[in-house]
Structures are given as structure tokens and as C-alpha cells.
């Protein structure tokens, strides 16, 4: 009788431990989580431009080539993760491909504001504020 009670208790403990282990493993599994775009200028425009994770600003008529890196709060994004950018209003900001999806040309067109849609692996992750100003 005592022996069977002991076995039942041990079985329950094992089951509980197994469940806890599974839960712990599940919680600890990291994934790629978009946290922003990091820009770096690849050309030297003749006027001041701003390419920051939350804001892009450039004068109308000016174009600039930039390199980009997808920021993640967990596992880093890799080269094969697809990045697609699109200006909501191409009358304000025109985009030109630069050969791979981690480089692009921004060209200020008409003065105004819009936002730059950021899609990573097909998911709309962000819309970065864009302002195009008149040249002085």
C-alpha cells in the first residue's frame, strides 16, 4: 500500500517536472522581433539630410543612397530576411533600388510629409515619418 502511494506521488512529481520543463523551454525560445531600421549614408548629398530610425528628412530635389540594417529586440535578422520599403506618397518621396534590398536611394520630390512603409518577410512592421522640405 505504502509502496503504491510512493509510486503515485513520484509519478505526479515527474509529470509536473516534465510540464514545467516544457513550459520553460517554450518561454525561452527566441525569435526575430523587428525593433526598427538603422540607416547609414552611402553618398554625400550637397544639402543636409536626416536618415534616422524614426524620421527621414531631406530637401526636395536631393537624392541620397543609404544602407540599412534591420534591428531586432531578440534574435538578429539575417541577410535572407526580405526587406521591402514603399513610400505611401511617391509624390513626396521617390525610391530607387540600389541592387539589393539592404541599400536604396531616397529622392525628395515635392515638399510635404509621408511615411515609409517597412515590410520584413512580407509583414508590415513600421511606417517611418518622412518630411521633404523646400530647398533654401
Amino acid at each position: 500500500m505504502n509502496r503504491s502511494l510512493f509510486a503515485a506521488r513520484a509519478g505526479r512529481r515527474c509529470l509536473a517536472g516534465l510540464c514545467a520543463g516544457v513550459l520553460l523551454c517554450g518561454c525561452a525560445q527566441e525569435e526575430k522581433r523587428y525593433s526598427g531600421l538603422e540607416f547609414e549614408l552611402s553618398s554625400a548629398p550637397p544639402a543636409t539630410v536626416a536618415v534616422q530610425p524614426r524620421h527621414i528628412g531631406l530637401p526636395a530635389g536631393i537624392a541620397v543612397k543609404v544602407s540599412m540594417r534591420i534591428q531586432s529586440s531578440e534574435l538578429p535578422f539575417e541577410r535572407h530576411d526580405a526587406l521591402v520599403l514603399r513610400a505611401r506618397d511617391p509624390e513626396v518621396l521617390e525610391l530607387f533600388s540600389a541592387g539589393d534590398d539592404r541599400q536604396i536611394f531616397f529622392a525628395g520630390n515635392d515638399p510635404g510629409t509621408t511615411c515609409l512603409e517597412v515590410r520584413v518577410n512580407g509583414v508590415l512592421e513600421d511606417c517611418i515619418d518622412v518630411s521633404v522640405t523646400s530647398q533654401q
Binding site: S43, P46, F105, A107
Partner: protein, 247 residues
């Protein structure tokens, strides 16, 4: 003194026709490096009225006049030749064979490969024509013109921005004389050059206008050949007096 006969005028026109029209269309363009360093942008003559394409050579202009047409191609260091497109359609209008500067300020040009991928870029500055200068072909700006009856000169209009920078690009010019009996003008349509021929003694106002942007007026005095007197400040052997001459 009688004005020159139609025969003399016709001969002068033929003799100077090369200066007034299209002998410069085969000029080799001037190059400037792309901002990404993969090749060079080549400025070509869009038309014969482009100041950057005058006097037998082409120079990449510091700035292009608003409203002017110009042509730019790209020469890569190696490989297929990309085509050049306007980075901003609001700044530059694409025309067959070239572009038109639509507003003042910098305008980006991009060189795109066959896959429509940007390989290089360059900015061109656009500026309004603030002043016009008129000069003899080899000279500086004129403030007044003194001619002997029968004398002729080829004059050229030079568009300048507000800083005095010469502006490139093909523009449309209009020349006229206040008194055709004193001063006759021969100019092909839209040309930045005109042949002026002194007629009978007197005074006339020579005017030239580029688009609606700027105008220039030059006082011209025609003297009878026997009484011709050179202005002391003028170049020896010429009736052209020089200074800024802008308006």
C-alpha cells in the same frame, strides 16, 4: 550713309550662319564624376543656344537655368552604359533626349542599369536667370555699342544667376531693334546669338529677352563711316565698350 544692301546683308548672314546656328551639335561633352565614383556624367549639347556648348567646346556648367533644356549621359568605368533619369520628377522634367530644369535648387540625376538599379548619382544646380549680359563673341559684357555704318558684329547673350554665375542649358531668346534703319538684327529663332549690322547713322536700342525671366537693353550708336570716332575707353579697333552691362 546708306544702310547695307540686301546682297551685303545676305553675304554676312551666310558668313556668320555657322556662328548663329547648328555647328556645335557634334561637340564632345564634358564629364564630371558621379558621387558614388563608379563613372562620370557627361554633359552634352541639347541645342545650340546652350552657353555651356559655345565657342567650340562644352563645359559642365556650375548651374543650369530654370526652364533650360540640357542633356546628360553616363559613362561607366566598365560594362554596359546605364541610362540617366531624374531623381525628382518635380525638379527635372524628362524630355526626349534630355531634361528640363523645372525649379531652382539642386536636382538629382541617377544612373540606372538595365535592371533599373541605381549605380551612381549626381546633383545639378538649377537657378533662375537673374541677369542677362550681352557680349561680342570673344569679349566681356557690353554697356554700349558704337558702330560705323556698314559694320557688323556677332553678339551673344549670356544668362547669369543672381551671383553672376553663367548658366548652362538651352533657352529661347528674342532679339529686336528699336530702329531697323539704324540697327538691323539677324538671328535664328530662339538663338542666343545675333548678327548686328549698322545701318544709317543714328541711335537705336538693342533688346534681348530670355523667356519671361530677364531682359537686356543696349544703346547702340551708329556713326557715318567717315566720322567714326572710337570711345576712349573702348578697345582699340573696336566699337564695343565693355563692362557688366546687365539689367
Amino acid at each position: 550713309m546708306k544702310p547695307p544692301s540686301p546682297t551685303v546683308l545676305a553675304a554676312l548672314v551666310v558668313a556668320t550662319s555657322c556662328l548663329l546656328c547648328g555647328c556645335e551639335t557634334d561637340l564632345q561633352g564634358d564629364k564630371a564624376p558621379g558621387e558614388l565614383g563608379g563613372g562620370a556624367f557627361r554633359y552634352d549639347c541639347f541645342g545650340t543656344t546652350d552657353l555651356a556648348c559655345s565657342n567650340g567646346e562644352v563645359s559642365f556648367p556650375q548651374a543650369v537655368a530654370v526652364g533650360a533644356r540640357f542633356s546628360i549621359a553616363y559613362e561607366p568605368e566598365a560594362g554596359p552604359v546605364p541610362r540617366v533619369v531624374a531623381g525628382s520628377s518635380a525638379s527635372l522634367a524628362s524630355l526626349p533626349g534630355g531634361f528640363e530644369m523645372k525649379r531652382a535648387g539642386y536636382a538629382a540625376l541617377l544612373a540606372l542599369n538595365a535592371e533599373r538599379e541605381g549605380v551612381d548619382l549626381r546633383h545639378v544646380r538649377g537657378a533662375h536667370v537673374a541677369q542677362l549680359q550681352v557680349s561680342a563673341d570673344a569679349g566681356v559684357g557690353l554697356s554700349q555699342l558704337r558702330l560705323q555704318a556698314g559694320e557688323s558684329h556677332v553678339l551673344r547673350a549670356i544668362p547669369l544667376d543672381r551671383f553672376g554665375v553663367k548658366l548652362g542649358g538651352a533657352l529661347s531668346y528674342r532679339w529686336w531693334s528699336s530702329d531697323e534703319a539704324v540697327l538691323q538684327l539677324q538671328s535664328t529663332e530662339d538663338s542666343n546669338r545675333a548678327l548686328v549690322v549698322a545701318g544709317e547713322a543714328g541711335q537705336a536700342l538693342l533688346s534681348v529677352q530670355v523667356g519671361k525671366q530677364a531682359a537686356f537693353e543696349l544703346e547702340v550708336t551708329v556713326e557715318a563711316a567717315a566720322n567714326a570716332v572710337e570711345d576712349g575707353a573702348e578697345r582699340e579697333g573696336s566699337g564695343l565698350s565693355q563692362d557688366g552691362g546687365q539689367r
